[in-house]
């Protein structure tokens, strides 16, 4: 087991009240497994992974629950210890590669710096490793690319450079937060291929956050659907896509226009918009938008329950 998260809760104190960004999230991740986390903006998918990385430093944030990485508790671990893990054993890729790159140094310098921060090797050796890494992420001319500045690269190339940086220390866990959202589909296809290849060669476990159901269905082994800070459904890729149970998952899948076949005259849309995390409904957070909600949904909150394929819904529990 690489990662084991239990009942994770993250909340932020704000002027308007307590924002419950994450409210009881649990999941496990095995070696070389790809976990897809899907949800809309504000569903808590990014915050839960920032918590895993120990990147929530806001003094108004409170983090409860347990995050175990290879059996070691990360919640409450001193910053020094965390820094040793981050970038080394646990790496992260963000949506916008420019946030992870500094514009004033070359790509080669930046990746080498990352390697030397965690490994005791000479600059020359680090540079050799950088060239290997850039070749691995399919830079057509890795040696030349090392001397390039971020602004001289295209969006797809920058994201590859960031991936090379993330892989520089052979991470056991790679967290990717919407890494392809800003990219064109043609470039995205290449990056997804790369992630698959890396899982095979580096045996890294990957948490892949996205809002795109298509991406998840092509990449993930297991999927977790989040809504308003909670996991509403989880299951293997096959389970979730061939037998979606939670009304939210079903509605989300239904609202994607088809790429082949007959065009529906109207798309089955989900009415309303996601709730504010400041004023969550007392019962099921999806209740007000749910086509099949009934009395218990208003007062009680459905639990996810156990089992590989589970949905937090009274209707599902009833069936």
């Amino acid at each position: 087991m690489i990662l084991s998260v239990r009942d994770l809760k993250v909340s932020f104190r704000t002027n308007d009240g307590l924002v419950r960004a994450i409210d009881g999230v649990s999941f496990d991740l095995e070696e070389s497994e790809i976990l897809g986390v899907v949800g809309e903006s504000g569903s808590g998918k990014t915050v839960s992974l920032l918590a895993v990385m120990g990147l929530i430093t806001d003094p108004n944030a409170s983090i409860e629950g347990s995050i175990r990485y290879k059996g070691r508790e990360l919640v409450g671990l001193p910053a020094r210890e965390l820094r040793r893990l981050r970038g080394n054993e646990i790496a992260m890729i963000f949506q916008d590669p420019m946030t992870a790159l500094t514009p004033v140094y070359t790509i080669g310098w930046q990746i080498a710096e990352q390697i030397r921060a965690h490994q005791n090797i000479s600059k020359a050796k680090a540079m050799v490793r950088v060239e290997e890494l850039l070749a691995e992420v399919n830079f057509p001319n890795p040696h030349e690319a090392m001397s390039r500045y971020p602004h001289q690269l295209s969006g797809g190339m920058r994201q590859r450079a960031v991936i090379a940086m993330a892989l520089s220390c052979n991470p056991a866990l790679l967290v990717a937060d919407e890494p392809t959202t800003a990219l064109d589909v043609t470039v995205q296809a290449g990056i997804l291929d790369l992630v698959r290849k890396l899982r095979a060669t580096h045996k890294s476990a990957v948490v892949f956050i996205t809002h795109d159901m298509g991406v998840v269905s092509e990449l993930a082994d297991r999927v977790m659907v989040m809504y308003a800070g909670r996991v509403v459904e989880r299951g293997s890729r096959m389970e979730l896509f061939s037998d979606p149970r939670h009304p939210y998952t079903r509605a989300l899948l239904g609202s994607i226009p088809p790429l082949t076949g007959e065009k529906p005259r109207r798309l089955p849309a989900i009415p309303g918009s996601p709730p504010s995390l400041l004023r969550l409904p007392q019962g099921c957070a999806f209740g007000p938008r749910c086509p099949v909600h009934y009395e218990p949904c208003v007062t009680d909150r459905p639990e996810l329950g156990i089992g590989t394929h589970a949905a937090a819904c009274f209707r599902v529990a009833q069936a």
Binding site: P140, V187, I270, S273
Partner: protein
């Protein structure tokens, strides 16, 4: 206006081009010219939706802005209802602006945060119309209902709305003056998946009710297919393929369209690997230094010598289907 005229073009471009000059004579490479849009001939018929697709930087947004004359046109001609509006002055364009409207990607960037949304929607009515203030209030209420906003929303500020609602405000502004043609530049890209479908449906309803013609730009190909009657695929400033939406998706003729469509991730319930995917190598070349011959040849899986020297013209190979390729899949 509609009915018997449904097949008459509302908007037409003839070899339209847009050049930007960048740099100065003091910059390292000197003064240079980018052909952002190059030789585009496109006909938009009344009541249809033309979808423009392509990777970022292919010139689809530039083309859209040329079509409503937000940019001046460098080459070719632009015709609105048969009338040449390529080089009309701003004052001559004014009466036309009412009939050509645009909806932008980011509604929070295109709405003034300091003004109430009712006021924002009333603005075009005040500028163009000869309505009394009472008539304006009534029209705003009508527009709010049309786009699915509540009457008491008029007093709110843009920040009090969700992204989807803000886009509804943007749409209300665009349709306020009963336009004939609306250019929608990535209108749903900034929205959550669950809200996207609502806006797509709203646009379809409005088109039917108000007899609108749309030019729809989006990078999400499944959304474009859903919305469009016809599709034009752009690559490096030019149209490489054009045809009815479903046909282009089902049987694309240009190798670029094939690669683009195959790259879209779709939800599959069968074990992966069933769909054939064409992965393009390399990036879109810089429009500053477009490749010789066919501009797609450096990334094309079927390119031969001829493609490196001779640029294929966009030609109609079957009624309604056009392709710019020496070796199209037909």
């Amino acid at each position: 206006m509609s009915g018997p005229m449904t097949d008459s073009p509302i908007l037409e471009t003839r070899s339209l081009g847009k050049r930007f000059s960048i740099g100065t004579r003091f910059s390292a490479e000197g003064k240079r010219t980018v052909h952002a849009v190059d030789n585009v001939s496109l006909t938009v018929r009344r009541g249809e939706t033309v979808g423009l697709v392509g990777e970022s930087g292919c010139g689809k947004s530039t083309l859209a802005r040329c079509l409503v004359r937000l940019y001046d046109i460098s080459d070719g001609e632009l015709l609105f209802e048969g009338e040449d509006i390529t080089s009309k002055s701003l004052s001559e364009l004014r009466p036309l602006r009412r009939r050509l409207q645009m909806v932008f990607q980011d509604p929070s960037a295109s709405l003034n945060p300091r003004r109430r949304v009712g006021d924002l929607v009333a603005e075009p009515l005040r500028i163009h119309g000869k309505l009394s203030s009472r008539e304006i209030t009534a029209r705003v209420a009508e527009l709010f209902e049309l786009v699915g906003l509540l009457p008491d929303h008029v007093m709110r500020y843009p920040h009090e709305f969700s992204g989807g609602q803000r886009q509804r405000v943007g749409i209300a502004r665009a349709i306020a003056l009963n336009p004939d043609l609306v250019v929608l530049d990535e209108p749903v890209s900034a929205l959550d998946v669950s809200v996207q479908a609502q806006i797509v449906n709203l646009l379809a309803d409005l088109q039917e009710k108000l007899n609108l013609t749309y030019i729809f730009i989006a990078h999400d190909l499944s959304v474009v297919r859903q919305v469009s009657t016809r599709i034009a695929v752009m690559y490096l400033g030019s149209i490489v393929e054009e045809g009815p939406a479903e046909e282009v998706f089902a049987t694309s003729a240009h190798p670029y369209s094939q690669a683009l469509i195959s790259a879209v991730p779709v939800v599959e319930t069968t074990p992966s690997g069933t769909r054939k995917r064409i992965i393009l190598t390399g990036d879109v070349p810089s429009p500053l230094k477009p490749p010789s011959g066919c501009r797609f040849h450096p990334r094309c899986p079927i390119a031969v010598d001829r493609c490196r020297t001779e640029r294929p013209e966009l030609r109609e190979y079957r009624p309604g289907r056009k392709v710019a390729c020496h070796f199209p899949t037909v």
